[in-house]
Every structure is written in structure tokens, then in C-alpha cells.
């Protein structure tokens, strides 16, 4: 008899856990799924209950978002900036991380502490000084050559993204390089391969897992970033999240709900697809670095 109640208590307990887990899951899935449904609703449907199912599949929202709200152009801009920033970041960070992990030389200690200190600098604090610096540069170029190009420049934006991601990336990569055995590179150097060849042909391919982690984290960071883009690109060449912000602000007066939710889908769809493909790597890699902007 006593055993019977014990079994029941256990069952109730497990049921209770499932209720808690499912409640949290629902509170996460429902708002995200709702945006997807809302993106195919017609404008008039938004005046009824928000819990109503879409009457049809109104794809015109996406066409409007692309054409009228310029989201197509913004999407191309975002892709370009993200790809370029990742490329610059890897080209600059990989050699630096490798050298810092493997060689001691005059100034190597200072360099290490500089990058470590960079981990504590958050970009939200320094975005205005960066803006002023570029503005000053533009004024100078204007006076000297009659035209500045530092603000409103997607390439400069990509460089700033790469630079602000450097401390974390160098930290992550160089701690990975330190775990690799040095016998490979010793063998390569003895065989007569130069330093550059050893690094590019042997060491960088061996660091592939950490490179994948770096690309994943920074893809999400660059694609989703908006405050630097908002500050450094005052002109029409916006990135996708800034474009979405404009849509959200415009919606308050014009009430183009469908278009706005279509814009939200455009921003989050690439990250969701990537997440579904690599979710294991992402949650595992997180404990590798364990830092957050």
C-alpha cells in the first residue's frame, strides 16, 4: 500500500515537471510562430482577435516588404557586410591568435593583455566616439580632397564589426591553438617548410572546430547587430535590422502590419535555419567561450 502512494507521488512529480517544461516551451514557440502567421495575414485581419488563424496565404506582404520598404536592398547589404566582416575577422584574427598562442617575443605579454582588456570593452560605450572619429575623418577628407567616404560606407561598417569582434575571437582561437600538440609544426619546420607555410597548411586546418565556432557566433552577432549600423550609416544604404526598425517606426502611423511582420521574418529566418542545422555545435561551443556581448 505504501509503495503504491510512493509510485503515485513520483508520477505526479514527473507530470509537474512536464507541465513546467511545456509551459516555457509554449511561451517561446507561440510568439515566434505567431510572427510567421502574422506575416501572411492581410491588413484588415489585424483588427480582429490576434489569435485568429490567417484567412489565406497573403504573400503580397513579402513582395511589398521587398519593393516598397526596400528590404530586398537591405538584405543584400546585410549579407555583404556580414560576409565581409567575417572574412576580415578571420584573415586578421587567425594569424594573430596563432602567434600569440605559440611564440614568446618582446611585447607578446603586453599584446596578450591588450586583447584580454578588449574583452571588457563593450561596443555600446564606444559607438559614439567611433562615429565622431569617422565624422572627423570625413571632414578632413572633405577639406583636403573634396569628399569623405568613411560614414555611410558598408565596407567601413564591416571593418568596425571585425575590429570589435577581435578580442573575443583572438581569445577563443588562441586558447584552442594552445591545446594542439606542437609536434606537427616542429616536424614541418624541420622538413624545411617556412613559418607561413606551416601556419597556413598545417596549423590553421587543425583549428577547424574553433574556426567553425567563431564563424557561428559572429555570423549571429553581425547579422543581428543594429546599434553600430544605425549610428555609422545615416544614409539610405541600411542593413536589415535597421531597415526593420524603420518599418516598425513607420507602422505606428501607417499601420502596414503585414509588411512589418514580413520584415521580421526576413531578419530571423536565416538565423533560425542556421540554428536548426548547427544547434548542437552552438550550445556546445558556448561553453568553449562563455561570453556574451
Amino acid at each position: 500500500m505504501k509503495k503504491q502512494t510512493g509510485m503515485n507521488a513520483e508520477k505526479v512529480y514527473r507530470l509537474f515537471i512536464y507541465v513546467a517544461l511545456i509551459t516555457l516551451s509554449v511561451s517561446i514557440i507561440v510568439p515566434v510562430a505567431w510572427v510567421f502567421l502574422a506575416s501572411v495575414k492581410q491588413n484588415k485581419e489585424f483588427y480582429g482577435s490576434p489569435w485568429a488563424v490567417p484567412e489565406g496565404f497573403y504573400f503580397q506582404n513579402f513582395i511589398d516588404a521587398f519593393q516598397k520598404a526596400n528590404m530586398g536592398t537591405y538584405m543584400l547589404n546585410s549579407m555583404m557586410v556580414t560576409a565581409l566582416a567575417l572574412l576580415i575577422l578571420l584573415v586578421v584574427a587567425l594569424p594573430a591568435a596563432y602567434v600569440l598562442a605559440r611564440y614568446t617575443f618582446r611585447g607578446s605579454k603586453l599584446m596578450n593583455s591588450l586583447f584580454k582588456a578588449g574583452l571588457f570593452i563593450n561596443v555600446n560605450y564606444i559607438v559614439v566616439p567611433i562615429f565622431l572619429m569617422l565624422l572627423g575623418g570625413d571632414t578632413f577628407l572633405q577639406d583636403q580632397f573634396g569628399g569623405g567616404f568613411l560614414l555611410d560606407n558598408l565596407f567601413v561598417l564591416a571593418v568596425v564589426y571585425a575590429a570589435t569582434a577581435l578580442p573575443f575571437t583572438v581569445y577563443l582561437l588562441s586558447s584552442y591553438f594552445q591545446t594542439l600538440p606542437s609536434t606537427y609544426e616542429e616536424a614541418a619546420l624541420v622538413d624545411g617548410a617556412g613559418y607561413f607555410k606551416t601556419m597556413i597548411r598545417i596549423m590553421i586546418p587543425m583549428a577547424r572546430p574553433s574556426i567553425v565556432a567563431v564563424i557561428l557566433f559572429n555570423f549571429l552577432a553581425f547579422w543581428n547587430e543594429y546599434i553600430i549600423a544605425l549610428t555609422l550609416i545615416p544614409g539610405p544604404n541600411k542593413t536589415l535590422p535597421v531597415g526593420l526598425m524603420n518599418l516598425m517606426a513607420a507602422q505606428k502611423s501607417a499601420a502596414n502590419y503585414g509588411q512589418m511582420y514580413a520584415g521580421m521574418v526576413l531578419v530571423m529566418l536565416p538565423t533560425l535555419i542556421l540554428y536548426i542545422i548547427v544547434q548542437k555545435k552552438l550550445t556546445q561551443g558556448m561553453t568553449l567561450g562563455g561570453l556574451k556581448d
Binding site: L24, I28, V91, M133
Partner: protein, 296 residues
């Protein structure tokens, strides 16, 4: 070419580009924040006047800054407490209780973390909308009309609504962190304590919590830093500090002064104060929570 020269060139070529980028876009702007906070600069005139610590004196009497300080502290406490309790609870349940669908729940809980803050702002504008919002209509569905609120319009609760969105965003991230360290605790500890008759709750407080204490301490610093940063990004995209300054936080006030208002010097003084505040708070909390580390 000698080997040492070759090596020097190699080291130089590898490190200099990274150093240049770091110096131009991180070190110099950081130094500038501190330097500019000592100048009166901005508005319509473009001349800088050195004013010493005047900006900080003005700051002390600036009622709007005090308000943003209060809001930020409310958010840090509110978001940290709730997120931490929920994240530890769910991490324990998922790791210790061998539930079916463990992997599935983990994938779902982490989703908010990969969304852009702008998207989260959009989602929660839809959730909190007073007339057509998901939350108020959900209450209406269950006949709980008295719970309906002006989530972002009411000055008293707007800051907690922002906090709700931040908690929604953060739970999965911290849960995954705690899961990793709970999974590292040897199973034998739990088996031994079960033989001694310790129940789940006793096990949680005597084994799990003490052994992940160091991890919890680290995340406390993360909570302070990320709440200050993310609340700015969210407020900027969602309410712009309104209604009437009710959701103004530290960095949104700094951005408003330094960028929108062009009072660069004053804005940077705010930045310095926020930076020192978050640094001091992290140090104090790290000091208070210091316990002897349990080894296993």
C-alpha cells in the same frame, strides 16, 4: 635570409594588422570616452572647452539620469533574480531528471538567444499591445479581464514589461551554461546521498548548488553587464525610453545625450559613470558571494 629574421618578419606580419584594428576601433575610442567626459563639447558649437569634472557635477543633479539609474538597478535585480532561479531550476530538471525530450526542450529554450534584439522588440510590441496584443487577448480568452494592462503605456509597469522581454531572451542561454556544469558533477555523489536517504530537494541544496557555485558567481557578472547592454538595445528599439522616461536606462540616456542630442562631452561623462558603476557592482557582488571552492 637568417632564421631569426624570418621569424621576426613572420611575427610582425601576423600580429600588426590585428593590433592596428584593435588600437583604432577599440583602444582609442575607449580612451576618448574618458578624455571627452572632461570637455564641454557639442550642441551647435563645435569648440571643445575643458571643464574638468563639471559634467559629473551636472550629472549628480540631473533628475533624468537619476531616473535611468533607478530603472537600470530595478532591471538588473528583477531580471537577474528571476532568470537565475528559472535557469537553474530548468537546468537541474533537464540534467538530473532524465526527462524524455531533453534535447528538444534544450533546442527550444535557446531559440530567443539567436534572435536579433530588433526582432525581440517587434515580438514583444505585438505581445504587449493593449488592444490587439497577445497577452491581453489571452486574458480575455480565459475571462481574466481584470489582469489586462497597458503593458508599455503604464509608467508604473513599463519597466517590468521590458524586464519580461529580457528574461524571455536570457533563460535559455544561462540554462545551457548551468547544464554544462551540473552535468560535470559525478553521479556517485547523488547515489551516495540517496543511500543516506537524501531527497531531491536536499540533494539540490547540498550537492548541486554548492558545486556549481563558482559558475553562478561568474554568471552574476554576465547578468550585470548583459542587462545593462541588452536593456539599452531593447529600449532603443521598442519604447525609445518612453512613456515619459519610464523605461529610460543607463545607456539609452547616454546615447540620447551623446548622439541624438549631440552633447558629446556630457554623454561620455554618463558613459564613464555607467562603466565605473558596473565595474564596482561586479566587484562587490563577487566579493559577497565568495565561498571556499568545493573540489570534486
Amino acid at each position: 635570409m637568417s632564421k631569426t629574421l624570418e621569424k621576426r618578419i613572420f611575427i610582425f606580419v601576423c600580429t600588426v594588422p590585428a593590433l592596428i584594428l584593435l588600437a583604432i576601433f577599440m583602444i582609442v575610442p575607449t580612451v576618448e570616452v574618458f578624455r571627452m567626459s572632461l570637455y564641454k563639447w557639442g550642441g551647435f558649437s563645435n569648440n571643445k572647452v575643458f571643464v574638468g569634472l563639471d559634467n559629473f557635477k551636472i550629472l549628480w543633479g540631473d533628475i533624468n539620469f537619476i531616473r535611468s539609474l533607478q530603472n537600470s538597478i530595478v532591471l538588473i535585480v528583477f531580471v537577474t533574480l528571476i532568470t537565475m532561479v528559472l535557469a537553474i531550476l530548468f537546468a537541474t530538471l533537464l540534467t538530473r531528471e532524465k526527462m524524455k525530450g531533453n534535447g528538444f526542450f534544450r533546442i527550444i529554450f535557446y531559440i530567443p538567444n539567436i534572435l536579433s534584439i530588433v526582432v525581440i522588440a517587434g515580438i514583444f510590441s505585438a505581445v504587449y499591445d493593449p488592444a490587439t496584443g497577445l497577452l491581453n487577448n489571452l486574458f480575455a480568452l480565459f475571462n481574466l479581464d481584470h489582469l489586462q494592462k497597458m503593458w508599455l503605456g503604464d509608467q508604473k509597469i513599463a519597466i517590468y514589461s521590458i524586464g519580461g522581454a529580457l528574461i524571455w531572451q536570457a533563460i535559455g542561454y544561462y540554462m545551457v551554461m548551468y547544464m554544462a556544469s551540473i552535468a560535470n558533477i559525478p553521479e556517485s555523489f547523488y547515489e551516495a546521498s540517496a543511500l543516506e536517504g537524501a531527497g531531491r530537494i536536499r540533494q539540490f541544496f547540498s550537492i548541486t548548488l554548492p558545486l556549481i557555485w563558482n559558475n553562478i558567481r561568474t554568471t552574476l557578472t554576465f547578468f550585470i553587464i548583459s542587462t545593462i547592454n541588452l536593456s539599452f538595445l531593447l529600449v532603443q528599439a521598442m519604447t525609445g525610453g518612453g512613456p515619459d522616461g519610464a523605461t529610460e536606462v543607463f545607456l539609452s540616456y547616454m546615447y540620447k545625450q551623446a548622439y541624438t542630442n549631440s552633447s558629446y562631452g556630457y554623454g561620455m561623462a554618463i558613459g564613464v559613470v555607467i562603466f565605473l558603476f558596473s565595474f564596482a557592482l561586479s566587484a562587490i557582488i563577487s566579493r559577497i558571494t565568495n565561498r571556499d571552492v568545493l573540489e570534486y
